[in-house]
Symmetry: C2
Subunit: 277 residues, 2 copies
């Protein structure tokens, strides 16, 4: 890590204002700022603004480019033949959009801006061509792809939670962690998506999202004010996702009440390689 995420985020806003962006900026936003160089400084990439509610890419459209979110946020969706819209991901600053089209002829999901947003366009052909000269760009692509695969795996874990309370808790913590890694507050969250979007993402009814958020607020774990959510008791939320079933189990365990030391995601960190077999 070179500069603090906060600083790069601020720098981003200036870059966005001028609607110009270099490959170095891209590396910065992707957490690879240390790999930036004069060579990458010289590569200017087009930015594209997307107004709130507008499509950045449509499902089925021919795949030509990846997009890196520079500002704002998107929801990535797949629509089935009945018109039901499945939200696959929320993309914020630093996230790539369109990776499911890699090596395919067309995009497998669409992306809608949840607010006025901006993206850097990375035409795949250009990226590959440059990648042969600058290995760091090749690495960037691989990192992005691996991260996306891993993240969708996390989403499967998210949706596998048997209780919707746990799903929401996991979602909030996941969201908070990503905000934090961008240098923003991990406590005060501004959700740009609707409850319906969250519901689709988590695979529950939208009324349930409302009810669960209200319940968590009543219990003092979070504070909800419209689309602003504050995480008041993160350890309690972390604890909560460990339960298989919601309230009853929680109440039962309330006596014990000892907080374990887990990271915000509640997943074990994978740093130490484990022994084989």
């Amino acid at each position: 890590m070179s500069a603090s995420p906060l600083l790069t985020a601020v720098a981003d806003h200036r870059a966005r204002a001028s609607a110009r962006c270099t490959a170095s900026d891209v590396l910065n936003w992707s957490g690879m700022g240390a790999e930036a160089s004069v060579a990458t400084d010289g590569i200017v990439l087009p930015m594209r603004h997307v107004a709130s509610g507008r499509w950045l890419v449509r499902e089925g459209q021919p795949f030509e480019a990846l997009y890196l979110v520079g500002g704002g946020s998107f929801k990535c969706v797949q629509t089935d033949e009945d018109g039901y819209e499945q939200v696959l991901a929320f993309a914020i600053h630093g996230d790539f959009i369109g990776l499911d089209g890699l090596g395919q002829l067309c995009n497998r999901s669409g992306a809608v801006a949840l607010e006025d947003s901006a993206v850097v366009t990375l035409p795949l052909a250009l990226l590959l061509a440059m990648g042969h000269e600058l290995p760091v760009l090749e690495t960037l692509l691989h990192r992005a792809a691996g991260t996306e695969v891993a993240r969708r795996g996390d989403n499967q874990y998210l949706m596998a939670a048997p209780s919707s309370e746990v799903r929401v808790a996991r979602f909030l913590l996941q969201f908070a962690q990503r905000q934090e890694s961008l240098g923003h507050s991990g406590r005060r969250l501004r959700m740009s998506m609707t409850r319906r979007d969250i519901a689709s993402y988590l695979g529950v009814a939208h009324e349930t999202i409302s009810r669960v958020l209200m319940a968590l607020a009543r219990d003092g774990f979070i504070a909800v004010s419209n689309r602003d959510i504050e995480l008041l008791d993160k350890p309690a939320l972390v604890e909560m996702q460990r339960l298989t079933r919601g309230r009853q189990a929680r109440d039962r365990r309330a006596d014990i009440a000892q907080h374990t030391t887990l990271d915000a995601s509640g997943r074990a960190n994978c740093r130490q390689p484990q022994a084989l077999q």
Copy 2:
């Protein structure tokens, strides 16, 4: 497509017997047989046999290589701190394992053989080095990555189904389709995974898998004999996944009973690029 999938699958078995494998074989198994050449014929890759129940890769292990399943099958899992095992995917012939480690330091998920199996090891460093000479190998990697991202997105769609009956129906159809694309029967399915594994994959209780399979069998949609499942009425299964809620809605709609022309996955095909905005 060059050779029929069936033929390549048979050829595969011979290659496996000799425990040697070329890059051309890899391209064949990945559906890129047309791109094979004398150059790829010359690249010999190591195969590895994995006995049933053994780990191919462990979560957290340093990432060094991708694996392509040459025979048998695997389950890809993530284990959380409580010891709960989340199945993220089932990998069969032609599937890549380990893509979530791309560009990362360590694997984010593990893989266990569900039966005696064999994989081709593709050390990433080697793959990248060769990719600079042979663009087709670069394309192979991208295709694999994009496919994996898309597939995990499909899994999210799978798990988002509100009724467990729909989830199971979708799962069976998904599985059948993949078997078909390998040239096997899309009717008679040999499931190498346990009901528990399916349950974890779909995010439901394992008893529910039993019950739903029994119910589907009672209705004559499938025939279950231990781990062998035969899809007797695929159109009915396709129809079923369109319902939001299971039995009651199905019974209600039984009068109408008109089958639409959908592909086995029940998702709309994305071939025709759509208009912008």
